[in-house]
């Protein structure tokens, strides 16, 4: 393989990757079903989530640690919800430290979780498997 060919393949791959990156960051991720719930409080709640390193133990859409449950739909799961989430934030548990959060920070976190809940489903529990290995009709 000549040097010219190698450079050409590398250049083509990188160019595609660059365009693909722009597409992923814009049209590929433009849909946000939770937009209505994205309040200023929810935005601050995300920063609280990061400040206390919640991702070390909790996942959102499967991204994060495994010590605690995935929090994507904690607000709408039957038997859970904002009060349930707040109880954990206030008292902690055997696995979760009590972070001594202020009332304001707890509210912000819960608004953030409410926003996430409206954006989609994780983990998916009901789905249809297609012949090519893909899935469809995914629901809670």
């Amino acid at each position: 393989m000549s040097l010219k060919t190698k450079r050409l393949i590398f250049g083509i791959l990188f160019s595609f990757f660059f365009l693909y990156t722009i597409a992923v960051d814009t049209i590929g991720t433009s849909k946000d079903d939770g937009e209505r719930w994205l309040t200023e409080k929810a935005k601050k709640g995300k920063l609280v989530f990061q400040e206390y390193n919640c991702t070390a133990c909790h996942q959102i859409y499967g991204l994060g640690g495994y010590m605690g449950p995935d929090l994507t739909n904690v607000i709408s799961t039957p038997g859970k919800g904002p009060i349930y989430a707040k109880a954990f934030l206030q008292a902690g548990s055997q696995r979760m430290p009590n972070f001594q959060l202020s009332e304001e920070k707890m509210e912000e976190l819960i608004e953030f979780l409410t926003y996430i809940d409206k954006t989609g489903i994780s983990p998916v529990k009901k789905f249809k498997t297609n012949f090519d290995g893909t899935i469809s009709e995914a629901t809670k």
Binding site: L13, Q50, N53, T55, C57, G62, Y66, I121
Partner: protein, 443 residues
């Protein structure tokens, strides 16, 4: 006489690995025994483990490159001073990151859990590394062997992916959870790909040195595999976001590209048929032994990676311990084995002698303890993940009940982690001792 900067990097890499193993063992027990050492919670021990292990991979790969270029590729470093500045920035930033974790100051992003301000010196240090690398090799060799391409690719894409990992500081990314999660996985997937380029480049280099065959690193087939690997680095990351409500074409591209890894898998199986005799013949050579182990782990991890790239399988495995098995199997089984091969090659090169027979016995016993423990560790995570995935889909048990159900597997995982720690300690100790002796001698 001046200390060789590559060796200094490797000395620090070993120390990082020991720290990473210690905090990994600690956090695995915190995982199994709730409340264990709650004065130093999991939110602190986990990032310490992750960052120290990532530091081990980067430091040892970079150390190898700084060592091999002048010593074996016969290209004098563009600037030794720049490499030393690189080292000190890395060290000081590393100490600051660890301090932040100890005092509970977080940036709270997966993998990069330190405050974002500390990403700036890391970025600067890579610019220095990039300048040094490219100024050292560009125009000096016309037909780069594959390892020079791979190292160059790793350095180049590190900038791209590291920048992408910090796009969240802009509200356009931060305030849109689907975009944020997608970009994060994209950045991390490609980041792992970029360090894999550094590691696999090192593997090619060591293999060339041991075999003495310089044709492989310039062959058409090697470059075809390199470009296939690069395509996967760039477009194969999205099997991590099958459940994220982003556009379907992102998932389809990833699924399609991931399946091309079947070609790599076939090549590995084909190569084994040819190289088995040689493997048996050279197994006594320490660096070669680590490369053989990494080959087997590449095979195991590739089979797992292919399986979890199928959406219908991924729906069960995503967010379970199978993803952890995939990550740990790759970082310990593949990356660490290759990098240990590189480090042992360098240690034997600088000391100009072999380890004595007791040291060799210790290293070989450590090698087996590590690999057997890693296999146990890997299998227990697969079982834990498979059961968890099944139970989550069935939706009959609470999270706590699921965790209780899989706790026997996680107990085995935690003890196997101790086995890996002991095994690697036995492997590293003689090498680290030799490095310190050498550095003291050259002080």
């Amino acid at each position: 006489m001046k200390k060789e900067i590559g060796i200094v990097f490797i000395g620090l890499a070993f120390i990082s690995l020991l720290g990473g193993l210690f905090f990994g063992s600690l956090s695995s027990f915190q995982f199994v025994i709730p409340g264990f050492l709650d004065s130093f919670p999991f939110v602190k021990s986990r990032p310490l483990h992750v960052s120290l292990v990532v530091a081990w991979i980067f430091l040892s790969a970079i150390g190898g490159i700084y060592y091999f270029l002048p010593k074996h590729v016969k290209l004098e470093l563009y600037s030794d001073k720049l490499a030393r500045i690189h080292f000190w920035i890395f060290l000081i930033t590393g100490v600051l990151i660890l301090t932040c974790y100890f005092i509970g100051k977080f940036g709270g992003r997966e993998y990069w859990e330190f405050p974002p301000i500390l990403s700036i010196p890391i970025f600067i240090s890579w610019i220095l590394f990039g300048i040094n690398y490219f100024k050292t090799i560009v125009g000096k060799i016309y037909h780069w062997p594959i390892y020079l391409w791979m190292w160059a690719t790793g350095i180049f894409f590190f900038f791209f992916t590291f920048t992408e990992a910090y796009l969240w500081v802009f509200p356009f990314f931060r305030d849109h959870i689907v975009r944020d999660i997608t970009t994060q996985w994209k950045a991390y997937g490609a980041l792992v790909g970029s360090w894999n380029m550094l590691v696999y480049g090192t593997a090619f280099f060591i293999m060339e040195r041991i075999s003495g065959d310089k044709t492989v690193a310039k062959s058409k087939l090697s470059f075809a595999m390199y470009f296939l690997g690069l395509t996967n680095l760039l477009f194969g990351w999205a099997h991590h976001i099958y459940i994220v409500p982003s556009a379907a074409w992102i998932r389809n591209v990833a699924y399609l590209v991931s399946m091309t890894e079947l070609i790599i898998l076939s090549k590995i199986i084909w190569n084994w048929r040819k190289s088995l005799t040689e493997s048996v013949k050279k197994f006594h050579i320490l660096p070669f032994r680590f490369l053989v182990a990494s080959d087997i782990w590449i095979f195991i991890n590739l089979v797992l990676a292919l399986a979890i790239s199928i959406p219908a399988v991924n729906i069960f495995t995503h967010g379970t311990h199978i993803t952890v098995a995939h990550a740990m199997g790759s970082t310990i089984g593949i990356n660490t084995m290759v990098l240990l091969a590189s480090c042992f090659y360098i240690v034997q090169d600088i000391t100009k002698t072999q380890f004595n027979s007791l040291q060799q016995k210790i290293v070989k016993a450590g090698f087996w303890i590590t690999n057997v423990s890693l296999l146990t560790f890997f299998i227990s995570l697969i079982f834990a993940g498979a059961e968890k995935g099944q139970m989550v889909i069935e939706d009959k048990l609470t999270f706590q009940e699921i965790m209780q159900h899989i706790s026997p597997y996680l107990t085995v995982f935690a003890f196997a982690g101790i086995g890996i720690f002991i095994g690697l300690l036995m492997v590293i100790f003689p090498a680290l001792r030799a490095i310190f002796r050498y550095l003291r001698g050259n002080a």
